[in-house]
């Protein structure tokens, strides 16, 4: 376990800012306690200082997880966001997408969101912007990337993909063994 280096921190923040913009400072600087990012076996964990001090006493091989896993660094040092980060990113999301009930199940199985399943989308969404996907009952379902900007979404045909699937809460069941 170790803190992130400068490059790793910048990669992480760039990825997070795609979804929550400048609200990252609310994650870094919290009024209710000191939280920090730690790297353990290529995974980034967001953990409070109290828990961190306890976790330091566990050896590297025996430690499985601590705090919340935000994602992991791949072999080529790219950051991949996991669904476990949803609880922390959903409240600060800049751009959101609401999905119709029919397409909700399809998204939870790992498919992309088509125009026909799109309920609402925030204004001013650029193409390839990071999105948080909600159901119509305002339940966060996962992460996505806008395939088209909001303007283009209006004009495109119903079978076109509007949101690329990144992560969904169905992964808790599907990828049980690889998700920490």
């Amino acid at each position: 376990m170790r803190p992130l280096t400068e490059e790793e921190t910048s990669t992480l923040f760039q990825k997070l800012s795609k979804y929550i913009g400048e609200n990252i400072q609310l994650l870094v600087d919290r009024p209710d306690g000191t939280y920090c990012f730690r790297l353990h076996k290529d995974r980034v964990y967001y953990v409070s200082e109290k828990i961190l001090k306890l976790a330091v006493n566990i050896s590297r091989e025996k430690l499985v997880s601590l705090g919340t896993c935000f994602g992991k660094f791949t072999k080529t040092q790219k950051f991949r966001l996991h669904i476990t980060a949803l609880d922390y990113l959903a409240p600060y999301a800049k751009h959101k997408v609401w999905v119709k009930p029919g397409a909700e199940q399809s998204f939870l199985y790992g498919n992309h969101v088509l125009k026909s399943g799109l309920g609402r989308i925030t204004e001013n969404t650029n193409q390839y912007q990071g999105l948080v996907v909600y159901s119509m009952a305002d339940v966060p379902l996962g992460f996505g990337v806008a395939a088209k900007s909001t303007q283009d979404c209006r004009k495109v045909d119903p079978m076109a993909i509007v949101v690329f699937h990144q992560a969904d809460i169905g992964e808790y069941v599907r990828h049980e063994d690889t998700l920490i």
Binding site: C36, N126, Q127
Partner: protein, 358 residues
């Protein structure tokens, strides 16, 4: 007549004697100094006779001088007590009086060997030992060490197998092996002492002695060193089929401590975020074009409504609805546009953007 001849003969004989004497007698102002043990004669007479130091006569004069001095030396030798050794008359030379200087410089004192240092430290003095020891087995006096020594355990004809040893082990071979190892160790120490005496820098042997009880890491290190110890410094060494190329001795990465200064960490992260935000362009071209497109959509919709209602409607432009362009609006019907966004960008878009920013 005969008397005259006799006189002549006598005179001739006398003259011959005188000649001979003259030959062997040399007159010198100063006597020569002789060191007969070194066959040395030292002539201290000033060379006044030799007037001409150059010219053809010089050679003859020098030769005459040398002949005179040698004659005197030989005269001295004939005066020594002579003896007869195997049909030759030999003169016994005395001890040389002149001490010749050293040909080579004095040898430097050698550094003490390891044993000598230890003995000096502990105050151990060499004990005199007898050179011969009584050997009970062969019932004779044998030397303490060396050829046919008294107690040579490699020469025993019967060895009992010790209690805990493997019955199939060869005890004779074991003893021979132990002897070889002792000899090798002694040789190594001797060479090391010599190297120390000549101040030769020995390569340090950090854990590369083949003990037989080396760990995996030590063996790996020894293997690496062996690989590099070639004339090409390991460049053309073959590798096993699945062996990875060795990692260079690069510097290890340093990380911040795990529980370091949390405040400092927070500060650096916030700074990073600030820089990241400041680097983003203020004026996002795509956003501007999207805004422009929205404006134009609105204008077109307003125009169409006007045309549809005719001139009856009093309101000039429909004011934008509260949620019309917001989140709540359903996606409008697809409309074909003639000029794409690239035509709208640029001057017009910037103007609109400036307006909107208020």
């Amino acid at each position: 007549m005969e008397a005259r001849r006799a006189e002549e003969l006598l005179a001739r004989a006398e003259r011959a004697e005188a000649e001979k004497l003259r030959l062997i007698t040399v007159h010198k102002d100063l006597e020569l100094e002789f060191d007969l043990g070194n066959l040395l004669a030292t002539d201290r007479n000033p060379p006044t006779g030799l007037r001409q130091w150059s010219g053809p006569g010089l050679e003859a004069q020098l030769r005459a001088l040398a002949r005179d001095n040698v004659q005197l030396l030989i005269n001295q030798l004939w005066q020594l007590p002579s003896e007869r050794v195997e049909e030759a008359v030999v003169a016994r030379l005395p001890e040389p009086s002149l001490r010749l200087p050293r040909e080579k410089p004095l040898p430097k004192p050698r550094p003490l060997t390891r044993w000598q240092q230890f003995a000096q430290l502990k105050g151990i003095r060499p004990r005199k030992k007898t050179s011969l020891v009584w050997d009970e087995a062969s019932k004779q006096w044998r030397r303490r060490w060396g050829y046919q020594r008294a107690r040579d355990d490699t020469k025993e004809w019967l060895i009992e197998v010790p209690g805990g040893a493997d019955p199939n082990e060869d005890q004779f071979a074991k003893r021979l092996q132990a002897k070889k190892e002792r000899v090798a160790k002694n040789e190594l120490n001797r060479l090391r002492n010599i190297a120390r005496a000549h101040k030769v820098q020995l390569p340090s042997q950090g854990g590369m002695h083949p003990t037989g009880y080396q760990s995996r890491d030590e063996l790996g290190k020894a293997m690496q060193v062996a690989k590099v110890s070639t004339a090409s410094v390991g460049r053309f060494q073959e590798r096993l089929p699945k062996e990875k190329p060795p990692r260079g001795p690069g510097r290890k990465r340093q990380f911040q401590p795990n529980i370091g200064d949390f405040a400092a960490e927070k500060k650096s992260q916030l700074e990073l975020i600030r820089i990241m935000n400041s680097k983003k362009p203020r004026m996002d071209v795509t956003r501007a074009t999207n805004k422009q497109m929205r404006e134009e959509d609105r204008e077109e919709a307003a125009k169409k409504r006007k045309v549809a209602k005719g001139r009856g409607g009093k309101r000039k432009g429909r004011p934008p609805g509260p949620g019309g362009k917001g989140k709540g609006g359903p996606p409008g019907p697809g409309r074909k546009r003639k000029g794409g966004p690239p035509l709208l960008g640029g001057r017009k878009g910037q103007r609109q953007g400036g307006k909107r920013r208020k």
